[in-house]
């Protein structure tokens, strides 16, 4: 992608004789130098006229610069604003030197404009050179190459997963709340864990993701809570359910590990 401000110009010999002879839809092919902006163009013109950057404000440079802008204008081509600003600056400097100016202040203004421009030009030239030098350095992927690197089994996600301890902590929270709801009604029944597993899966499937606490919301029976919890642990152990915690003390969210729509997206998404 080209810098939008780049324009391609100029001025190396107007080649009128080389207009295409064929009429109609003839396509012409050009090779043009690319300029990075008005400063770049000015440096080009200075070089071409074998001048010094100090002499940027001489009329030959100004004339050629303007000639180029006119050329683009005659082609109805949009011109980056920076080129026009520079043109105005050059013209202003020129006007100071051409017009009679009784005030001393005016002369100084003109000189200052010129000094500023030369300074900018020199500074720009320095960075352009620095850039060129940078481009000459041994470049990775061009001149020198590194090893692609070996990989090991990624283990870093583990630490993001909620630990068993977190689950137990969360369960305690649920139980604490429960005991507020139905105090002292602890009747332990023998509920098979296997019976609770499909219930847990169904709850997760219904909502795609379920907060850990929500799984126990409607349970007032401690035996049921414990069986449900054990069922969940078993499902996690089997890799059917994924437990994720948002933040160290955040809620634990349960989701289906496989097979579900989410699993597909996992494969596609990354």
């Amino acid at each position: 992608q080209k810098d939008p401000a780049q324009v391609a110009p100029p001025l190396d010999g107007v080649t009128e004789g080389e207009q295409p002879e064929k009429s109609g839809e003839a396509l012409r092919r050009f090779r043009l130098p690319i300029f990075e902006g008005p400063l770049d163009l000015l440096l080009h013109l200075i070089k071409r006229n074998e001048l010094d950057p100090q002499e940027v404000a001489t009329s030959i440079i100004t004339d050629q610069y303007l000639q180029y802008l006119q050329l683009l204008d005659s082609l109805n081509l949009d011109l980056a604003g920076e080129y026009l600003v520079m043109a105005a600056t050059l013209l202003l400097i020129k006007s100071y030197s051409l017009l009679p100016h009784p005030g001393v202040a005016d002369t100084e203004d003109g000189e200052e404009l010129k000094r500023d421009l030369v300074e900018r030009l020199l500074e720009y030239q320095r960075y352009r050179e620095a850039g060129a030098k940078l481009g000459e350095r041994p470049m990775l992927g061009r001149d020198v190459f590194a090893a692609p690197g070996e990989t090991v089994e990624p283990s870093e996600t583990v630490e993001y997963r909620a630990s068993l301890f977190d689950l137990v902590e969360a369960l305690r929270e649920v139980l604490k709340r429960l005991s507020g709801k139905a105090p002292r009604q602890i009747v332990l029944r023998d509920i098979p864990v296997a019976e609770r597993m499909p219930v847990v899966l169904e709850a997760i499937d219904r909502a795609e993701r379920v907060e850990f606490a929500a799984l126990f919301e409607d349970l007032t029976d401690h035996s049921l809570v414990i069986a449900t919890f054990l069922a969940l642990l078993e499902l996690i152990r089997r890799g059917q359910v994924l437990a994720l915690q948002q933040g160290r003390l955040g809620p634990i969210v349960l989701s289906r590990k496989s097979p579900s729509a989410d699993q597909n997206s996992l494969a596609k998404g990354e």
Binding site: Q1, E18, A26, R28, E36, G37, L43, R128, G131, R137
Partner: protein, 227 residues
């Protein structure tokens, strides 16, 4: 740890890492080996590699990295069949400005370059050669840009201090002018002679602006001749 074994392990580590590895990171892995011993081993390794080998040990981006020597670039490129990263003049120029003047804002860059630099900065960010390094405490709190570790790695620089002194360029100015100007980048384009219609997308003004009748016309299109 015996010295030869240390060197062998270091070679493994640097090879496996691929990217530059800092002395600190190596020391973490090599638990009980003092940093000084690691540094010494690395220096000796660098010397040992130097003699016409296929691998070189370089200090890059604040760390150590194994790399192929420059002389083999052609072969390696051929094997990898990868296009070498191309950095245009405008990218290099802007990168140099960021490198020497960081942290620097976009308006400051544009003042130095004299042109809008949004597109160039975007490309440099995309290539991870520069990053947004925060905001300047100035009106509007503009973002400031700085170079990345990837920049140092890409240009084989040990650190930012290894950049050549900017003042050197002033002296060289004329010589530079020669070399920079002798091969200006060129834009190749085609245009119908019937109309100077701007490109339909409008997102590449440079292409449409590039046509000038003054420009050396390379050739007419072959198709026309056959008619």
């Amino acid at each position: 740890m015996e010295e030869e074994r240390l060197k062998a392990i270091l070679e493994s580590l640097l090879f496996a890492a691929g990217e530059p590895v800092s002395l600190a990171r190596l020391a973490v892995v090599l638990d009980n080996v003092p940093k000084e011993a690691i540094r010494k081993a690395l220096n000796e390794m660098a010397l040992a590699y130097a003699g016409g080998r296929g691998i070189a040990l370089e200090q890059v981006a604040g760390g150590y990295q194994l790399r192929t020597p420059k002389e083999h670039a052609l072969y390696v490129r051929k094997l990898l069949a990868a296009k070498p990263p191309r950095l245009s003049r405008s990218l290099l120029e802007t990168l140099a400005i960021v490198a020497y003047r960081q942290p620097i804002t976009r308006p400051e860059i544009e003042q130095l370059r004299g042109v809008d630099s949004g597109g160039v900065l975007e490309t440099l960010l995309e290539r991870r050669l520069i990053k947004i390094a925060g905001r300047k405490e100035a009106p509007g709190r503009p973002m400031v840009y700085a170079t990345t570790a990837e920049f140092l790695e890409a240009f084989s620089l040990k650190d930012l201090e290894s950049l050549p002194d900017l003042s050197e360029f002033r002296e060289l100015q004329n010589a530079v002018e020669e070399s920079a100007e002798s091969t200006p980048e060129q834009l190749e384009l085609e245009q119908s002679t019937e109309s100077a219609e701007p490109s339909p997308t409008g997102d590449d003004p440079s292409a449409s602006q590039a046509d000038t009748p003054e420009s050396p016309v390379e050739s007419n299109r072959g198709e026309d001749e056959s008619n």
